[in-house]
């Protein structure tokens, strides 16, 4: 398969150095209004950028010490992390913090300079709904399988899964299954590729893939590829680079990536690059952002595009990181 990529048109190549430069430039845009409007995503953005750099083989392109300082500066007494200093703690930014610290191998600094792993675990486990097994995003109670996945992701990285009722969480995910083999945001909700990723990954972390109807799910996921090679998130919707990750990683987890046309998907992602300034967009010709950049790169990595580090399909982090942290 790797050799078939050489059949891609000459101009369709991964512009690695442009992507590195693009990601490095993201924090130098303080004179742009958007920089401030997206501060509520700062920690997530750092995770997306850092993961991109790791996949591009440039893990040191952001200074490690400053990265750790910034992450720790976002932590609250409760153990949870906000998106930036002065922002409230939330599951999503807490998961990003744990993932970043895992990537830069700094759990010991969390222990010595932060509030410690146990406190982070406590923050997350307090967000589990003991009746249903699902998780809230924060104290205000919004529930979603994204948060459930995030909890299992971060807790497993911290080695603290025993803090929560994993069986209950698994039951909740099973209740989100639909007749088409997919999963929704909550029981009764329509199947959606993003939620499928969170549910399948959560079941994988919990060691309960036996609950997945792999044939039916694989069919549904493979039908997400549409003319042009890109993947959509639901039937009869437009393609978008971020689904290169949600759909493809789900297919990978159930062993069915060969059910789509990998070359066409790789070509679609490559066409979404900004070849001059770096970064990847949702569709060809649109504005790039770091979110589509990481999911485009992660997709290419899963497709074994040459020159990229292998990505872990469950955690969306470099395999080298999950191997080190989880001892795989």
């Amino acid at each position: 398969m790797a050799q078939s990529f050489s059949q891609l048109p000459e101009d369709l190549r991964l512009v690695k150095s442009a992507h590195v430069t693009y990601i490095q430039s993201l924090d130098s845009r303080k004179d742009e209004y958007d920089y401030w409007l997206t501060e509520h995503l700062r920690l997530n953005g750092l995770y997306w950028g850092l993961t991109s750099l790791h996949l591009l083989g440039q893990p040191d392109a952001l200074p490690r010490a400053e990265t750790i300082d910034f992450v720790l500066s976002c932590q609250h007494e409760t153990g949870g992390f906000g998106a930036a200093p002065g922002h409230d703690a939330h599951m999503l930014s807490t998961v990003s913090a744990v993932q970043i610290l895992a990537m830069v191998d700094a759990f010991d600094e969390l222990e010595t300079r932060g509030k410690g792993k146990a406190q982070v675990g406590q923050y997350i486990s307090n967000l589990q709904n003991h009746e249903t097994g699902t998780f809230a995003g924060d104290e205000w109670g919004e529930e979603d399988t994204r948060f459930l996945y995030g909890a299992l992701n971060a807790l497993s990285l911290l080695g603290l899964l025993e803090l929560v009722d994993v069986d209950k969480a698994v039951q909740h995910v099973a209740a989100c299954a639909n007749f088409d083999g997919g999963y929704g945001v909550s029981p009764g909700a329509e199947s959606h590729s993003g939620q499928i990723f969170t549910c399948v990954a959560a079941l994988t972390i919990a060691g309960r893939q036996d609950l997945i109807d792999k044939e039916r799910l694989g069919r549904w996921l493979s039908e997400r590829q549409i003319a042009g090679g890109g993947l959509n998130g639901r039937p009869e919707k437009k393609e978008d680079v971020c689904y290169s990750w949600w759909v493809l990683s789900s297919l990978e987890m159930i062993g069915k990536t060969h059910w789509i046309d990998k070359d066409q998907l790789a070509a679609f992602i490559l066409r979404c690059q900004d070849p001059e300034r770096g970064g990847i967009s949702d569709r060809p010709g649109d504005m790039v952002d770091v979110w589509h950049t990481v999911f485009g790169l992660a997709g290419l990595s899963l497709l074994k595009y040459p020159g990229l580090q292998p990505v872990d399909e469950v955690y969306c982090m470099p395999k080298s990181t999950t191997a080190r942290v989880l001892g795989h």
Binding site: H40, N126, E190, S222, G233, C242, W291
Partner: protein, 452 residues
Amino acid sequence: MADHGGSQHGIARTSRVRTEEQRQRDLGRIAKYRELEDQARALASRGEHSTPELFQITTKLLRLNPEYYTIWNARRRCLISGSFSNSSAGSSRSKGSSTTSATPNTAPSSAKCSSPSSATTPPGPGPQTAGKSGTTADDAGDEASNPIENHEATPTPAEAKAPAAEATQTTEATEAQDLSVIKSELAFTIPLLLESPKCYWIWSYRLWILEQAIARLPARQARKVWEEELGLVSMMLGRDRRNFHAWGYRRHVVDQLESTALHGSSMVETEFAYTDSMIKTDLSNFSAWHRRSRLIPRLLEERGADAQTRREFFNQELELIHNALNVGPEDQSLWYYHQFLVLNLVSPNQPNPTTPSQALIVPDLPLADRIGYLTSEINLIDELLEDYDDVKSIYEALFEYRLYQTQLEGRQPDEREKEELARWLGKLKQLDPMRSGRWADLEKEVGLGVYM
């Protein structure tokens, strides 16, 4: 990992070069925005949630940036300790409204590699551009400038409300006050939702406000507030028929309206009728088909449908989907719904431990009848080929359903059927090379190698 809104979806790539004038204008906007942030943090860190100042600043900031979840939280705290009466301590849902603030340092420190333009949740493209929404900080508070806000009772803006310091209010007065705050908050979020219909934080704030209605108002009044919410959801779904936020929100609102807390009763009939109208508007709306598939089992149960009625209902659904397939056999939404119906025939014999049984519409149908139904479906689909011999979904359905049929009959496909399956699979390979790996797996699984 998944995250919240603000990514660049569908915005054309343009040169990033700004003129000096544009840059200066940006700097001015940044200064204004950050000044508001600083004020909000200063007031919040002093715990001044009960003063009108902080509340007013949240109004301005959220209009500039509805993705700012910390500010939505600050607004909740303002309401709890200020505008709302104290008769009901806190929200029914919140586990406590105090968070320890991260660091007293308010200066947004140097995020390495933060994203000026990032992200959404996996669930779908996020709001077009965070920050475009709302008006400028200067006219924040000018409720009248938003025409949509006049759609329902828009009482005095909560901004204008003095914090409820007086302890000796009558129940009636506190309820009236709470109702007014609730209505004002609901009105406040409408223009924000219209601007950013995929912003999680707005939807979740709105739900929190609605829950305050249950916690703080008599059931009859709370019910009215929730009932009006259905109108909002319908409006949002009218603008984007597939918005899964809105569909999820609708489910939640209906659940609540059916609950005893709101003196509710089943709405399954009206909801089913709603899917009817949505499907009639747009056959491709899988969200509506999905909702329909979820409502049917309850609908039949509540109708007390006997075997005959169930069979008639099943026939009607088949007819509906046949008519749709006749005009749009390429439409995946239709085929998924057809599959749902067919699974009703198959699942009693195919207990799949991983997927909930779909034998929900006609559970007691005798085996011979199920086989009869399936055969007739196969024949009808086969007829579609007369007009559409190059539509892949037709061959896929034929292949799948023929296998179901032989399974129901408790046998392997015979020679003639294998030849037929091989012919359909050949068409699938030809029409849909993208999924050739899947067709190869099917060929192996069914043992069609020698027939191809």
